[in-house]
Symmetry: C2
Subunit: 251 residues, 2 copies
């Protein structure tokens, strides 16, 4: 199994603290890591088929505070597909003049959808097939970019049949929102004013967010297993899909 980390904020925010805790878990998830940062419509996606504990790319990410509105990170333990760069999450495609980024934690059995349109997998994972199918079905359902609410409705409808093939925890972003779908394990929290101190569960590192934020800042963090102690993480229910916009879940 793999682990996922996502961030959605109302002001460009760095994820150095969360990624540092997350990367510590890479010991058991050593078959590659990846992280995608949106800055407006632009995205940079760093992937490495080395472990996030040793990768010089992960080291750079921990030191270079890239400020981003939407982030998706993934550490991989290969279950389907070889250990190869083309099988490393997040995956990226373009639809309606926007980049879309996707990462998956779980295992889909016998999922071989008909991919007849413009989205074909490059690698050989169940995850990339699921992503290509999501993109294909979004494109079929809407002629251009609909609003976040309509997109979320469509995603709920098309995620359900995939989830029947196994476990399908995923994160998806187009730079405007972060969608998180839970099948087995996914937690989130919203950090907002008044900000307090947080301590990483896996590393001896504490950050006082009050020193790094303004009262208007709001950040949602979504992750497989809670990253900190002293904070109240909320578990997503099985089958739940949430859209995060401006640092909080859209209701």
């Amino acid at each position: 199994m793999c682990q996922l980390l996502g961030m959605n904020a109302n002001t460009p925010t760095d994820v150095v603290f969360s990624f540092t805790g997350f990367a510590t878990r890479a010991e058991e998830h050593k078959d590659g890591f990846g992280i995608a940062f949106f800055e407006g419509a632009g995205v940079r996606c760093f992937v490495d088929n080395a472990s996030a504990r040793q990768s010089p790319i992960a080291e750079m990410v921990k030191r270079y505070p890239i400020r981003s509105d939407n982030v998706i990170a993934h550490i991989r333990k290969a279950t389907q597909g070889r250990v190869a760069l083309e099988n490393t999450h997040p995956f990226q495609r373009e639809l309606w003049g926007r980049y879309w980024v996707f990462a998956h934690n779980g295992d889909l059995k016998d999922f071989h959808p008909k991919l007849h349109a413009a989205f074909r997998p490059v690698g050989d994972t169940d995850s990339e097939r699921a992503f290509c199918w999501l993109m294909q079905e979004l494109a079929k359902n809407h002629a251009g970019t609909p609003d976040i609410g309509a997109l979320t409705e469509t995603l709920r409808e098309i995620a359900a049949p995939i989830a029947r093939h196994g476990s399908f925890n995923f994160m998806l972003s187009n730079g405007q929102a972060l969608w998180a779908h839970a099948s087995t394990r996914l937690h989130y929290l919203v950090r907002r004013h008044p900000f307090s101190e947080a301590r990483l569960q896996d590393e001896d590192l504490t950050v006082n967010f009050a020193e790094h934020t303004t009262p208007n800042d709001r950040v949602a963090v979504v992750v497989t297993e809670p990253l900190t102690t002293h904070e109240d993480w909320i578990a997503l229910a099985p089958g739940e899909l949430l859209a995060f916009v401006d640092g909080e879940p859209l209701r």
Copy 2:
């Protein structure tokens, strides 16, 4: 104007030496840089809208010897489009289950092609429009991935009408070949056995390739302006398009 660097090799090769010389030229080309490394079908594309002279990402690329079959790098001086991440080359799309990467040096006047298919620009550069149009026309001309020779023929045909809009030096790769098209300035050389010493034109750095290679290695380097002294760089003719496969031009 921007600068381009490409590498195609018959065995995975690092470009630390060439990229170091290339990045030195970023003083005048300070509006971002990007570099894409293919490893088989997989690709990693690092982009930054900071100059390659200051970017921590460029620093990491210079220190981490990523071994790759095909590399495309670009340093940008904005002529069309804002300085923004989504306007930073190389651009990446997927076609026929393969990633395609593209970077452009030049200026296209009044180039607003009809993009009715699956490839839409995310940013607002003439370069990304040209790339989307190339992808669209390749998809129209072939049902699946044709061989390199056929692809090269199609690219020659569809590059010509774009080049009429201004200067169109570009590099394109799908991980199987590196295509280079010259409109004004592009040079290449092939390094092969017996390897010798090379000295960077812009930095006080010398490498003896004989120490780092085997007699079977062959590497083609394509660049806007020659990177080294003591080596014979060949200028591409205006309108010339070459495909590089296994470290040499396909004839």
